[in-house]
C-alpha cells in the first residue's frame, strides 16, 4: 500500500462549484450580481468622490433640479449676487463675468467696510472675494470674487444638500442593515431551526411554540418598546429587524432538518458513533445551506424594506444620517415640485431589490438538486 500513499489526490467538483457554474450561465443572475457589486462599491467609496459632504447645506441651491452642467447657471448668478449684497447692505450697480472670476460694482449709503467680502465668501455661490478698489468717499466699491462651480447630478434636496451624495450614503445604511440583519437572522435561524428539528420530540415542540409566540407579537410594537427602552440606535435596528426575521428562517431550516435527519447518511454517522453535535455540524447544517443561501437573498430585500418602513415612521435612522427609505419618504412629499427627490432614491432601491431577487432566483435554479 506504500505506493498508494504517495498518490496525488485529484480535486473534485463540489456541489457548490457545480452551482457556481450554473449560476454563471444565468445572464440575469450575473447581471444582478454585477449590479449589486457596483452598487456596493459606489455606496462605499462614492460619497468621498462627489465633492459634497452629505451634511453640507447650499443655501443658494435649495431644491435645484438635476443637471449635468455645473451650477450656478448663468441666469442664477444675478439673483444670487443681489441676494448676497443685500445682506451686506450694498446695492448692485453692475457685474461682469470674466472667466471664473466676477467683477462687481456696488454702492452703499454708508461707508463700506472691507469685511463685506465675508458676506460673499459665506454664500454658496462665491468664494475668494477681494476688494479691488473703492471710491474716495467710501460709498462705492469694486469687488471681485470667483464663482464656485458645483455639480449636482441628482439635484439637491429641500435644505440644499447634494442628493447624489445623500443617496449613496443612504445606500450604505440600507445595504448594511440588509446584510447585517440578514446575517443575524440567518445565524440565529439556522442554529435554532437545526437544533429544534434535529433534537425533535418535546424540545422541538417547546422551541417551535416559542417561535409561534414571537410570531404573534406585533412587530412595530416590539420595535417601539425597544426604542423606548434603549433609545434610538443604529445597532438596535439590526437587532430588532434580525430578531424578527429569524423566525421564518428557523421554520425553514427546521423543516429541512427534519427531512435530512431521516437520510441514511445521518443514520450512518450515528452508527459510526458520531456525536449529535458532530452530526449537526458536519451533516445537517451543510446540507441546509443551499436553501439558506436562497432564502437569504430574499431576506435582504425584505430587511431593506422593513428598515425603510421603520425610518418612514421615524423609528429608524435619524437626520442627518439617512437611508433609502427616509429619502423616499421625503421625496414622496415633493412629487409636484421636485420629483427627482423621489425618482433617484427609489431607482436605487428598486434596482437593488430587483437584483437581489433575480440573484435569489438564479441561486435557486443553480442549487436546485433536481437539476443535478
Amino acid at each position: 500500500m506504500t505506493d498508494a500513499t504517495v498518490l496525488v489526490a485529484t480535486s473534485g467538483r463540489s456541489l457548490w462549484s457545480d452551482a457556481w457554474r450554473r449560476l454563471r450561465r444565468n445572464r440575469a443572475a450575473v447581471a444582478s450580481a454585477v449590479h449589486l457589486a457596483v452598487m456596493t462599491i459606489a455606496c462605499i467609496v462614492g460619497p468621498n468622490l462627489t465633492g459634497h459632504p452629505f451634511t453640507t447645506i447650499y443655501e443658494d441651491y435649495v431644491r435645484v433640479p438635476p443637471s449635468l452642467a455645473p451650477y450656478p447657471q448663468p441666469d442664477q448668478i444675478e439673483p444670487a449676487l443681489v441676494d448676497t449684497l443685500k445682506r451686506a447692505r450694498l446695492e448692485l450697480k453692475s457685474w461682469r463675468l470674466d472667466g471664473d472670476r466676477i467683477a462687481i460694482e456696488a454702492t452703499a449709503t454708508r461707508p463700506i467696510d472691507d469685511r463685506v467680502t465675508r458676506y460673499l465668501d459665506r454664500s454658496s455661490t462665491f468664494e475668494e472675494a477681494r476688494v479691488e478698489a473703492r471710491s474716495s468717499d467710501g460709498l462705492a466699491v469694486t469687488l471681485s470674487a470667483s464663482v464656485r462651480r458645483l455639480l449636482f447630478l441628482f439635484g439637491t434636496d429641500n435644505t440644499g444638500r447634494d442628493l447624489l451624495t445623500r443617496t449613496l450614503i443612504a445606500g450604505r445604511v440600507s445595504l448594511a442593515i440588509g446584510l447585517l440583519a440578514g446575517l443575524v437572522a440567518v445565524v440565529i435561524g439556522v442554529l435554532y431551526g437545526a437544533i429544534s428539528g434535529f433534537v425533535g420530540g418535546r424540545t422541538d415542540e417547546v422551541m417551535m411554540r416559542i417561535v409561534d409566540v414571537l410570531y404573534s407579537l406585533p412587530f412595530i410594537f416590539l420595535v417601539i418598546v425597544l426604542v423606548v427602552f434603549f433609545g434610538r440606535d443604529f445597532v438596535l435596528m439590526f437587532l430588532a429587524v434580525g430578531a424578527v426575521l429569524w423566525l421564518d428562517m428557523a421554520r425553514i431550516v427546521r423543516g429541512q432538518t427534519l427531512s435530512i435527519k431521516r437520510q441514511e447518511y445521518v443514520e450512518a454517522a450515528r452508527a459510526l458513533g458520531v456525536t449529535n453535535a458532530g452530526i449537526l455540524w458536519r451533516h445537517v447544517v451543510p446540507n441546509t445551506l443551499g436553501t439558506v443561501v436562497i432564502y437569504m437573498t430574499l431576506l435582504v430585500p425584505q430587511v431593506i424594506i422593513l428598515e425603510s418602513f421603520l425610518s418612514y415612521l421615524g423609528l429608524g435612522v435619524q437626520e442627518p444620517m439617512t437611508s433609502w427609505g427616509v429619502l423616499i419618504a421625503q421625496g414622496a412629499k415633493n412629487i409636484p415640485s421636485a420629483n427627482w427627490l423621489l425618482i433617484f432614491p427609489s431607482l436605487f432601491l428598486t434596482t437593488t431589490l430587483f437584483a437581489l431577487n433575480f440573484l435569489g432566483d438564479g441561486l435557486r435554479d443553480a442549487l436546485d438538486p433536481k437539476d443535478r
Binding site: 500500500m1 489526490a9 485529484t10 463540489s14 443514520e267 450512518a268 459510526l272 458532530g278
Partner: protein
C-alpha cells in the same frame, strides 16, 4: 407459449423506432443517451428492452412520447402506424399519447396524484379522450379496476392512493393506462419498486391483459428473468445502442454478444465458505421487539401501535453470515437498526457478552467501532456536501481522534484501495460516482474502523445485476481478509444464497423460518418461504418448462 409467439408481426410494425438518437446538453458538453437505435413493435406483440441503468432504454421511450427533459434533443424517427410522431406538436401528439399509446412508470407511489381518488384519476383521461360524462366514465373506471384484478373495486374507486399498497397502486396505474384501450402499452420498469411476490403477480397480469386485449407491450426492464416469461422478442441495450436483438428463446439459448452473455451470467455465483465449527457467538438478540407509536401527539387521537418486530431471536457467530430475507414491511431493516441500537427495542441484545440495551449513548459509542452498517441507498447514504475522503474517515475522527490529518488520509487511501476505488479520487464528491462506486465507498467507511460485525441492509438492491455481482464478491473477500461477521438483509434470494451461511425468513415482524441456507433453498418448510422462492425463481422454472 408457442401460440403467443405467432401473434407478433414485426414486418408491419405498429410502433417503429428508426435510428432514434437522444442527446442531452449538459455543462460538460452533450451527453448521448441513445445512439441511433431501431426497434420495431408488431401489433399485439410484447417486446422487451433490456439494459442496465444508463443504457438509454427509458430515454428512448421518453423521446418517443415527447416527454424528454428540456435539455434533451431527439433525432431519427419514431412512427406510429407509419405516421411520424417525433417532434409532433403537443396538441397532435396528445391525440395519440394516452389514447393509442399509453405508458406506465416505475414508481407507483409518485405516479398517482395523492390528492385525488383513484376513481377520479382513472375517469379523467377517459372523459378527456372519449367525451363521456362523469357517470359513464366512473362505470368504465370500475370496469377497468376489475379488469386489473383489484379486490373490491367499488370501494377502491373511492380510495386515495395512500390507502393502496404498492402492488394495488401499480394495478391502478395499469388501469389508467388501459382506460382508452391503447394499442401499445409502454411499461417502464413497472415492477422494479415492488416485492418479488407482487412483481410476479403484476407480470402475470400484464401477460394476461396482453392476451385478452391483444395490445402490443413494450416492456422496459433491467431484469432478465421477467423478460424470459413475458416477451416475444428482446432488444438488449448498452450505452445507448442495441447490441443484440432476436426472439426471446433464441437470446436465452444462445446469446451472441458478450454483454448479453454477461447479463445472463450476472447471477452471483459461488457460495460462502462456512465459519469454523464452534466459533463463538458475537452478537446475540433474544426476543427483540420494536413497536412504533403512530399518531397521538399533543392534540391527536389515540395512538396506533405498529409492531414492526415481534420477539425475534438471532445469534451471529464469528465469521458467519446470516441472511435476513423478507418483503418490504417484514421488519428486516428494523431488526438491523435495533441490533445497532439506532432504534429503541425490547428484549436483550448482547455483543460479546455485554448487554447493549443497558448502555447509555456515551457508553455505546466505543462499541460502535465494532458494529458497522452499510445501507441500501448508495445515493442517500453519503452526505452530498462532504468529500469521499472525509466520508470514509469520519469514523476515525470519532474513534481515533488523536490521529493526525496525514495519518487519516493514509488510512482513507488504504480503505479505498481495499474496496477497489482509486484513492486518487478521495477529494471528489459523492455525486461524481456511480451507484456501485458509492456503495464501495459506503463499505470503505464501515471497514476502515476494523469492525467485527457489519450489518448490510440491502447493500445490493439499488444496483444493476452486474454490479451486484461485483459487490457480492467484494463483500465475501473482505469477510475472509478481515474476519468479519455479516448480517445480510435482502429481499433477493439469489444473492442471499451466494452470501449467507444461515437464513432467517421474516414476515410481518416475525421469523417464520430459520435454517441453513441450502436447506432453505432445497427444502423450504413454511408456505411463505416457498412462495418467496417460487416468485424469485420464476424465470428459471418457466425456462425449464419451455
Amino acid at each position: 407459449m408457442t401460440e403467443l409467439r405467432q401473434t407478433g408481426n414485426p414486418a408491419q410494425p405498429i410502433l417503429a423506432f428508426d435510428n432514434l438518437a437522444v442527446s442531452f446538453a449538459t455543462p460538460d458538453g452533450p451527453v448521448e443517451a441513445v445512439r441511433g437505435i431501431s426497434v420495431a413493435v408488431g401489433e399485439g406483440e410484447t417486446v422487451a428492452i433490456v439494459g442496465e441503468s444508463g443504457s438509454g432504454k427509458s430515454q428512448a421511450m421518453m423521446a418517443a412520447m415527447g416527454l424528454l427533459a428540456k435539455n434533451g434533443r431527439a433525432a431519427g424517427s419514431v412512427r406510429y402506424r407509419g405516421r411520424e410522431i417525433l417532434g409532433l406538436p403537443a396538441r397532435d401528439l396528445n391525440r395519440i399519447r394516452g389514447e393509442k399509446i399509453a405508458m406506465i412508470f416505475q414508481e407507483p407511489m409518485t405516479s398517482l396524484d395523492p390528492l385525488y381518488r383513484i376513481g377520479d384519476q382513472i375517469a379523467e383521461p377517459i372523459m378527456a379522450h372519449r367525451r363521456l360524462d362523469r357517470r359513464e366514465a366512473r362505470a368504465r373506471a370500475l370496469e377497468l379496476l376489475s379488469l386489473v384484478g383489484i379486490g373490491d373495486p367499488g370501494r377502491r374507486l373511492r380510495s386515495y392512493p395512500h390507502q393502496l399498497s404498492g402492488g394495488q397502486r401499480q394495478r391502478a396505474m395499469i388501469a389508467m393506462a388501459l382506460a382508452n384501450g391503447p394499442e401499445v402499452l409502454i411499461a417502464d420498469e413497472p415492477t422494479t419498486a415492488l416485492d418479488v411476490t407482487i412483481e410476479a403477480q403484476i407480470v402475470a397480469l400484464l401477460s394476461d391483459l396482453q392476451r385478452r386485449l391483444g395490445m402490443a407491450i413494450v416492456f422496459i426492464t433491467h431484469n432478465l428473468r421477467l423478460v424470459r416469461q413475458l416477451a416475444h422478442r428482446v432488444y438488449v441495450m448498452r450505452a445507448g445502442e442495441v447490441v443484440e436483438h432476436g426472439l426471446t428463446a433464441g437470446i436465452f439459448a444462445s446469446p451472441q454478444h458478450p454483454y448479453t452473455q454477461m447479463l445472463l451470467a450476472a447471477e452471483p455465483e459461488g457460495r460462502k465458505r462456512p465459519p469454523p465449527a464452534g466459533a463463538p457467538v458475537l452478537l446475540e438478540g433474544h426476543h427483540i421487539s420494536v413497536a412504533f407509536h403512530l399518531g397521538g401527539g399533543l392534540l391527536g387521537g389515540p395512538a396506533f401501535v405498529l409492531h414492526a418486530l415481534d420477539k425475534v431471536d438471532i445469534a451471529l457467530r464469528r465469521g458467519e453470515t446470516i441472511g435476513v430475507v423478507g418483503e418490504s414491511g417484514s421488519g428486516k431493516s428494523t431488526l438491523g437498526r435495533a441490533l445497532l441500537r439506532l432504534l429503541d427495542s425490547e428484549g436483550t441484545i448482547r455483543f460479546e457478552g455485554r448487554d447493549l440495551r443497558a448502555l447509555s449513548a456515551a457508553e455505546m459509542r466505543p462499541l460502535r467501532r465494532e458494529l458497522q452498517v452499510v445501507f441500501q441507498d448508495p445515493f442517500g447514504s453519503l452526505s452530498p456536501r462532504m468529500t469521499v475522503g472525509d466520508i470514509v474517515t469520519e469514523g476515525l475522527r470519532v474513534h481515533a481522534p488523536s490521529l493526525s490529518a496525514a495519518e487519516r488520509d493514509r488510512r482513507a487511501v488504504e480503505a479505498l484501495a481495499d474496496v477497489q476505488i482509486d484513492p486518487a479520487v478521495r477529494n471528489r464528491y459523492p455525486h461524481e460516482f456511480s451507484g456501485g462506486q458509492r456503495q464501495r465507498i459506503a463499505i470503505a467507511r464501515a471497514i476502515i474502523l476494523r469492525p467485527k460485525v457489519v450489518i448490510l441492509d440491502e447493500p445490493t438492491s439499488a444496483l444493476d445485476r452486474s454490479v451486484q455481482k461485483q459487490i457480492v464478491e467484494l463483500l465475501r473477500r473482505l469477510q475472509e481478509e478481515h474476519g468479519l461477521s455479516y448480517i445480510f438483509i435482502s429481499h433477493d434470494l439469489a444473492i442471499v444464497r451466494a452470501m449467507a451461511d444461515r437464513v432467517l425468513v421474516m414476515q410481518s415482524g416475525r421469523v417464520v423460518e430459520a435454517a441453513p441456507t441450502e436447506a432453505i433453498f432445497t427444502d423450504p418448510r413454511e408456505p411463505y418461504t416457498r412462495e418467496l422462492l417460487a416468485a424469485a425463481l420464476l424465470g428459471e422454472t418457466r425456462a425449464g418448462m419451455a
